[in-house]
């Protein structure tokens, strides 16, 4: 059992090293970021506890993936299997329930621990998943697949938009818009199998243009309810809202370009740092977008003639 956790630790370290970050730096950065975001969340909204619980429980899903569970069942005894599952679940949600206790949300904290224990007996069976219909059939694949994996985030965002309108909280509505667009950005972060670029009868420029058009079109569909609420209920801030919307499109475009700059490899530390830096200083987009654009065109030339 100890070996299993040692192996998990080693594999995580390998992934981080491949990404170009020394593991210790990554762990410390993630920890600081986690505490910073948690503090901000609890400062800014009274629904922080609920959001927090939701995210915490969601993190359990990928631990219960069917193939992994079957593998563990095959190689470990029943007792060891249950111990592993329990330890995994409690450690992945550890920071969530500690922060909740710190913020005196004892009931929610207890709820996360309870779900962590109960889900030991649960397997996330991909094969029994019902097919979620999406409006993105015409131009697969990013939004069809991405939406199905993250649809619960959109439910949360639309709920936040409703609350924002209800309590006239402009910042919360903007947060909801940004969360939608950030989720759309994540659809473009991981590189697809090379086959799915190779199939296109397009040159690199045409391919990037095509992908960008789809990103704009479909991300607009997803954030339309929030945009409409912003325009209708927060009319004094219309220009700011539109500015933020345009900026979010540019972020999605930049993320997509970063992916194709590194393609078929994962986004490296260099592109990762650039993306993080952009969040702090968006004006640099003016320089970064043309740079990444030409780099990605150059890179895609080997696959798309």
């Amino acid at each position: 059992m100890k070996e299993y956790f040692k192996l998990q630790f080693k594999m995580t370290n390998r992934r981080l090293t491949e990404f170009g970050v020394p593991p210790i730096v990554a762990y410390l950065t993630l920890l600081v970021l986690f505490f910073y975001l948690s503090t901000e969340l609890f400062k800014r909204t009274e629904y922080a506890g609920l959001i927090y619980t939701f995210v915490g429980i969601s993190s359990l899903i990928h631990l219960a993936e069917e193939n992994k569970i079957n593998f563990l069942k095959l190689i470990y005894s029943k007792i060891d299997f249950l111990k592993i599952r329990l330890l995994e679940n409690l450690s992945i949600t550890f920071l969530f329930w500690v922060i909740l206790i710190y913020n005196k949300a004892y009931l929610l904290s207890f709820f996360i621990i309870l779900i962590s224990c109960i889900s030991v007996f649960y397997t996330f069976n991909k094969k029994n998943n019902f097919t979620i219909k999406t409006p993105f059939y015409k131009y697969p694949f990013e939004f069809c697949t991405g939406f199905r994996k993250t649809f619960f985030i959109f439910i949360l965002c639309y709920f936040l938009t409703y609350i924002a309108v209800d309590v006239t909280n402009y910042n919360l509505a903007i947060f909801s818009l940004l969360l939608i667009q950030f989720t759309c950005l994540t659809f473009y972060i991981s590189p697809e199998n090379i086959f799915y670029v190779w199939i296109y009868s397009l040159n690199p420029k045409g391919f990037i243009r095509y992908k960008f058009r789809i990103a704009i079109l479909y991300s607009t569909v997803l954030c339309l309810p929030t945009i409409l609420c912003l325009l209708f209920f927060f009319q004094n801030e219309i220009l700011i809202s539109l500015g933020i919307l345009v900026l979010s499109y540019l972020f999605i475009f930049t993320g997509m370009l970063a992916k194709y700059t590194a393609f078929p490899n994962e986004i490296s530390i260099r592109e990762g740092v650039v993306l993080v830096f952009l969040i702090w200083f968006p004006p640099i987009l003016v320089l970064i977008i043309p740079y990444l654009y030409f780099q990605s065109i150059k890179n895609l030339k080997t696959i798309l003639k």
Binding site: N193, I199, Y200, S201
Partner: protein
């Protein structure tokens, strides 16, 4: 016609393909055989342009990849993409307008289910249907019969004959000799990254005999089964 001249491919110091000269004519089906690791899949990827290589590949189709249907040994499917969306994706990528996938679903696949929930054979049939809908001129089929049920195997064989009749070029790899002898005009033998023989239809039986003699008796005896 597709012409391969002096193709060379290596990964670091490991030479995968060396001195490959081949030509493929329209209306012909070519088989390729070789042990695991002989370089078949790498050769396919080089022809497709997925792998870089030294040497030259020319064709009468201009940009070959735009007329090429490539069925991989194990096609990759996104975790939440339905069969229908996969077909749509491959058609859109080639700017082909196809509205009635149900009518062309000859393998009776559950198109509205996620492709990752399909069995091995169903995935292969989905990938094959997609490249057929693209109306390509040249097909590379890497192990098209693997994992597929008997009825579908017969359908695939008939599809190959139909493609030949339509003057298309097909290159197939298979570890089941009978599937190649039933369909191919020529069989290319690849060993350690080099072409050792190109066999025409009248000599297929000799090749089959040679392959059986080489691989069977000695190797099994090494296991010392008791």
């Amino acid at each position: 016609m597709i012409q391969i001249t002096n193709l060379y491919k290596s990964f670091g110091k490991n030479v995968i393909l060396n001195n490959i000269h081949l030509s493929f004519e329209r209306g012909k089906i070519y088989g390729i055989v070789g042990e695991n690791g002989a370089g078949k899949t790498t050769l396919f990827k080089c022809i497709a342009g997925i792998e870089t290589y030294k040497g030259e590949i020319t064709s009468i189709y201009g940009i070959l990849k735009e007329k090429l249907g490539f069925l991989q040994t194990e096609s990759f499917f996104f975790s939440k993409i339905t069969g229908r969306e996969y077909l749509q994706l491959l058609c859109v990528a080639r700017k082909i307008q196809e509205n009635d996938f149900d009518a062309k679903n000859i393998f009776d696949l559950p198109l509205d289910h996620y492709a990752t929930t399909y069995s091995t054979g169903m995935k292969k049939k989905l990938a094959l249907t997609a490249i057929l809908l693209q109306k390509n001129e040249f097909y590379i089929l890497d192990e098209p019969f693997n994992g597929v049920d008997i009825q579908s195997n017969m359908i695939i064989t008939e599809i190959l004959h139909e493609l030949k009749r339509l003057n298309k070029t097909v290159l197939i790899s298979s570890h089941i000799f009978s599937t190649l002898s039933d369909t191919c005009d020529e069989i290319i033998v690849l060993k350690n990254g080099e072409i050792t023989k190109i066999i025409t239809k009248e000599n297929f039986s000799t090749l089959e005999k040679e392959m059986k003699e080489f691989s069977m008796i000695d190797k099994i005896s090494k296991l010392k089964l008791c």
